[in-house]
Structures are given as C-alpha cells and as structure tokens.
C-alpha cells in the first residue's frame, strides 16, 4: 500500500515522503510509548532524521521500510534510556506520561477508550510480550520481521504474541471494554452506592452461586 509512496520518497518526492510519514509516524509514537520511551516525540524526530538522511540508500518494500523505521526508533529509544541512566535526573513525571492523554475530556467521554488508555493497557504486559504485540499490531510488521528486530526466533515471537494477547484478554480492563457480564469495576459501593458496582467481589460470587 505504501510501496508507491516509498518509491517516490526515495526519489526525493515530498508528497511521497509525507504519505509515508503520515501513515507511520502515529504508529511509531505509539510503539515508543508502549516500550516506555520518556520522550517519544523527540525520539521519533531523531528516527525520521536518520530516515530522511538515508532513504536514498534504502531499497525494499513497505515491510522492509517498516522494519527499518521501527528498528531505528527502537535503537534510538534504547540509546535515550541508556543516556538517561548515565545522567540520572529527578523527573517526577517519568512513567506518568503514558497515563496522560492527548485526548480532551470530551473526546474521552464520547469516544470511549482512548489511544493512550489502550497503550497503557498494552504496556502492562511483560516487556517482551508488549514489544512483540506492539511491533506486530501497531507497527504492522510480520512475525519474521518482528523476530529480526527483537533478535528472537519467529517461534519465540509467536509464543510471546499469544501469551501477550491471552494476558490482555484476561485483563479486567480489557474485559470491561466489551461490557462483558460478570465484570464489575470501580470502588465498593456504599448504601445506595454507584450503579454497576458491587460491594465486594466475594459477595457477588456468592450471590451468583446462590441464584
């Protein structure tokens, strides 16, 4: 789908490059957020800087370009993490960014699950599972390419994918997305408490068994 844009961008065509950038920049940012990057905008900017510098040397299709882009992004993020560990600074907001949301409140209300919320759910997986799922789903890479980026075998990536998706499917927050019966979220309700919340999970189980 992006092959033509890639070819045009490699030839120096701005419209082709913009098409590539618009298609992949959001996914790059989301991937960087999943892997815990503190400043995804900055890392993405550095990533694209290397891409535009070397795009003329690149040859390959869309999948290869995606693999190249996300490999650069991943390395840049790892570099940034390493640099940060060398020069530790007091950052009270480290790690909190993922829970912040670029969506305005009204959009969250109207749209339901936000991208940032979804990223936060994905980031709760183990690091290898989160990265595998992010590269497969967000980056749109095929499993062998994910395996190459992660330095694993395709089989190991498939296992990580399955385990990650299974863990997500069992995440109460994900279950709640589907409005599955039997799930109750929120704080315990007092007398006349909030609708849809149970006073205790144990009590719920007991009553369900009774009925």
């Amino acid at each position: 789908m992006l092959d033509e844009a890639l070819a045009r961008a490699s030839a120096g065509d701005e419209a082709g490059f913009l098409q590539l950038w618009r298609a992949l920049q959001p996914r790059l940012l989301r991937f960087l957020r999943v892997i815990g990057c503190d400043d995804p905008d900055d890392i993405a900017s550095e990533t694209w800087l290397q891409v535009v510098r070397d795009i003329r040397k690149f040859s390959g299709g869309e999948q290869e370009f995606r693999r190249w882009l996300f490999t650069i992004g991943r390395h840049r993020a790892i570099d940034a993490a390493r640099a940060r560990s060398r020069r530790p600074i007091a950052q009270t907001t480290v790690g909190l960014d993922i829970f912040a949301d670029s969506q305005m409140v009204e959009d969250q209300v109207l749209d339901g699950l936000s991208v940032r919320g979804a990223i936060a759910m994905l980031a709760r997986l183990s690091p290898d599972q989160a990265e595998a799922v992010a590269l497969r789903v967000i980056a749109g890479l095929e499993t062998p390419h994910v395996a190459q980026i992660l330095g694993k075998s395709p089989g190991a990536v498939r296992v990580a994918l399955h385990r990650g998706l299974k863990a997500l499917a069992e995440d109460p927050a994900v279950i709640a997305l589907a409005g599955k019966p039997g799930y109750s979220s929120g704080p315990p309700a007092g007398p006349g408490g909030a609708p849809g919340t149970s006073a205790s999970g144990h009590g719920l189980q007991t009553l369900e068994e009774v009925d």
Partner: protein, 380 residues
Amino acid sequence: MNSDLPGELGPLDPGLDQLMQTLTSAPSTGELAGEQTALAMFRANAGAAHANGRGTVPFDGTLPMHATMPIRTGGNSNVPPVAPSRPFKGPSRWGLRIAAAATVLAVGGTAAAAYAAVLPNPIQHLAYKAFGFAGVPDAQQNHPGGSPSVPSHAGSRPGHRKSAPTRTPAPGTSSGPHHSPSPGQSSPAAAGHEQLSASATGTQITAGTSVTIDGHLTRSGSAVAGTSVKLLERVANRHFWRIAGMQQTNSSGNVAVTVSVLKTNAAFVLAGPGGVRSPVVIVLVSPPITATLTPGPGGLKDLLSVSTHYARPGNVVVLQVQTGSGAWLKIKARLLNANGKTTFVIRARLLKNKQLRAVLKATPRHASSVSNTVSVPAPS
C-alpha cells in the same frame, strides 16, 4: 477485526478486538503535529543527497547498533548486546539536534513550525535562541492551553507540550475525516478580547429530554448585545461538529440555545463572531429504564422485565439486590435485545422480600441509569 492483526492469532474477543482497533486507530492531530518539521528535514536532506550523488544500496535488515540496555525497568534480556558504535555519543546526539534545528530554520516556510511551537523541545529551544527576537517561542514557554477561553483541562496534562494547540482546528479545517477536532477555540488576537462562557442547565439529563446551553458574551469585560451566537454540537461517536442552533445575545449579552431532544452524550460549544469560542460543555444522558416484576407459577420463579429507551441492543443491564446494610450487590447481567428489553428469572425462594433494581451500564453513548426498585414477594 483489525486488518493489521495476523490471521494466526485467530479471532479475538470483543474487548481485545476493541483494544487492537484503538491501538491502530486513525491518528490524532497531535500525533501529526511534527509534519512540517519532518518535511523540512526531508527537503534539506533531499538537496544534500543530490549534491552528494548517493547511490542506492539494499537494506539487509541490520543497522549499526549502539544499544545495549533495555528501556523498561525489569528489562528485556533479548536486546542484542552489541558494542556501541560511537564511544562518546553525547555530542553526536546534539549534533543531530542542531542539524535538525538548522535544517528546519534554514528552509523557507518551515520556520512556521518554530513559530507554531510544534518542534521537539531541544529544537524549539534552539530556534528560540536564534530567532526569539522575531517571536519564536521557547520550548519551556509553550502553553498548550492557549487562550483564556480554552477549557482548563485542554492542556493541563504533563508531557503534551505540542499536541494540544494543534488539536483544535476550526470547523471545516480538519486534516482528515477520522479526526475529532473540537470546533476551534478563541485566541485573544482573533477574538479581540471577546470572551464567551457556556454552561448547561444540566450536565446529566434523562435521554430524550431537552437541554439548554446558556452563554454570556463579553468584549473587554462588557456585555455584547445583539450578536449572533451559534451552538455547535458533537454527539457521541460522531467525529464532526454541527450547528445545533443559533440565537442573538440579549441586552445583557446572554444567550440561551435549547436542544429539544438529546438522545446521546454530547459536547457543546458556543461560537461567536471573530472566532470566539466558549469552553466545551459536556452533557451526559441517562436512558430511562424501568423494571417490572411478574410473579411466576406458584410464586417460585418470577420474571423481572427490564425496558429501556435510547439504549442500544447489546448494552449491559445489571440486576442488583439490596443487602441488609443498604448496599447494592450485583447478581447477574444481561444484554439488551433489539427492542431495548431484557428479562431476568428471579428465584423467589432465595430472594423473597428482597429489593431488586436494574442498572444500565454506561457506554460512550450514554451514562448509566438506575431503574425503579421492585420487591420480590414470598412464594405462596
């Protein structure tokens, strides 16, 4: 299911499917905020490449790696331990950034990115140092919220110095059909010190009833009379704003526009002349829900019928019972059918003399609703 998901993963349950769709959803305006910067870099490098006469080589999937450490705490032990390609990386990283800043600022037309403060912080700061006299803002001076009339929540979150201002284009200027822009917000320059406030007669109303959005238009602190003000509405799951009504301000600068029937959650904005916009007002609706208990044969198995309006098939209804302490406990849940109804079978022997109620769970389209309470009679 999202097309990005591999077939080998098999069918996903609805919650997981929704999560995957969200992860691959259309980009927000904030995610595309650095477009001009990227384009400037591309232009500059395209010119340099022509000058250098670079050739094309195939990409073999490898890169010079200088990464030896996992990002996340607890780490990924599978990151290949490759020796750094650059023993001292700091200056090089800054070199990249300075080159990027120079690239951006050297290319005609792209200085707008610096003026718009959409550059990454280091680049924006360099731009400020070089061109601050011309009005380029510093990175630390970016105020995501922008104008005084921007809702207080619009840019108050940490870590979003670039996305918030560009997320609110005026109606009709959206860069893509999937974006969900708010209908523009006022800036002091555009609005000429005009301010427009807005409030709703109720922030949570019964679905199907009316809501009135009250506004007050002032210019330099004085009420503005006889000015047309539009009410813009964005209902749940719609990505565009529409004009829901229009009215002229009275002698006190007040305006009140009524939406006669509101069936879903909605956001409202009042729009005055000169681009002045009010903060966004959200109104949630609660679908009416009623519960009716029909005693079964012998009084053993009663039937609790739940009926709703303005809810959708598949919405979740939870049956709750009141305990001796007054708390409500969930017993079971059902999905609404196509007629907006569902039923629960009640075992009167176990729940005799108990108080029951049904709760319609909230969705993006509506808030939760609580039915009337019914009492389970003892079996005869």
